[in-house]
Assembly symmetry: C2
Homo-oligomer: 85 residues x 2
């Protein structure tokens, strides 16, 4: 199955990339832009059919590699089982 | 309103970041991982109440700054108007 992982900086953490994007948009004339945050999304193909097992595996991937839990949050989306977020 | 923009490499474009993540996951013992693709997500606060106008504005942002149309696709999600993707 195809699993999607959203990794974003925690709300309390300063996001210089987001701030740079906001400044660039403002410079281009987009003057109605407020806060901008940039995160990353990782889509991976997993050879697993059980959704619960897939979630457990991907959570371990997040803890060990994909996210930095000190400054980042992550959200795992399995195919057509999760509501949009 | 809060607008979300997903920017990802086109399917035909090689994704070295994704490949590096896959290799790292394999090295960690996650041996059931297939293709991995990494994209970015930009969340921005826009001072606009009309969804159609918001979409038009953000599409222009994508064309002019947020995405590289030669190698990247983008998807815009407005609050609670779009189906999940």
């Amino acid at each position: 199955m195809k699993v999607r992982v959203d990794v974003r900086l925690r709300a309390a953490v300063l996001d210089p990339q987001g701030a740079a994007i906001r400044q660039a948009l403002t410079d281009l004339g987009f003057d109605r832009v407020g806060e901008v945050r940039q995160g990353k999304v990782i889509e991976l193909e997993l050879d697993e059919t059980d959704p619960a097992q897939a979630r457990t595996t991907v959570e371990e991937m997040c803890r060990r590699l994909l996210a930095n839990p000190v400054i980042e949050d992550y959200a795992i989306t399995l195919p057509s089982t999760d509501p949009p977020h």
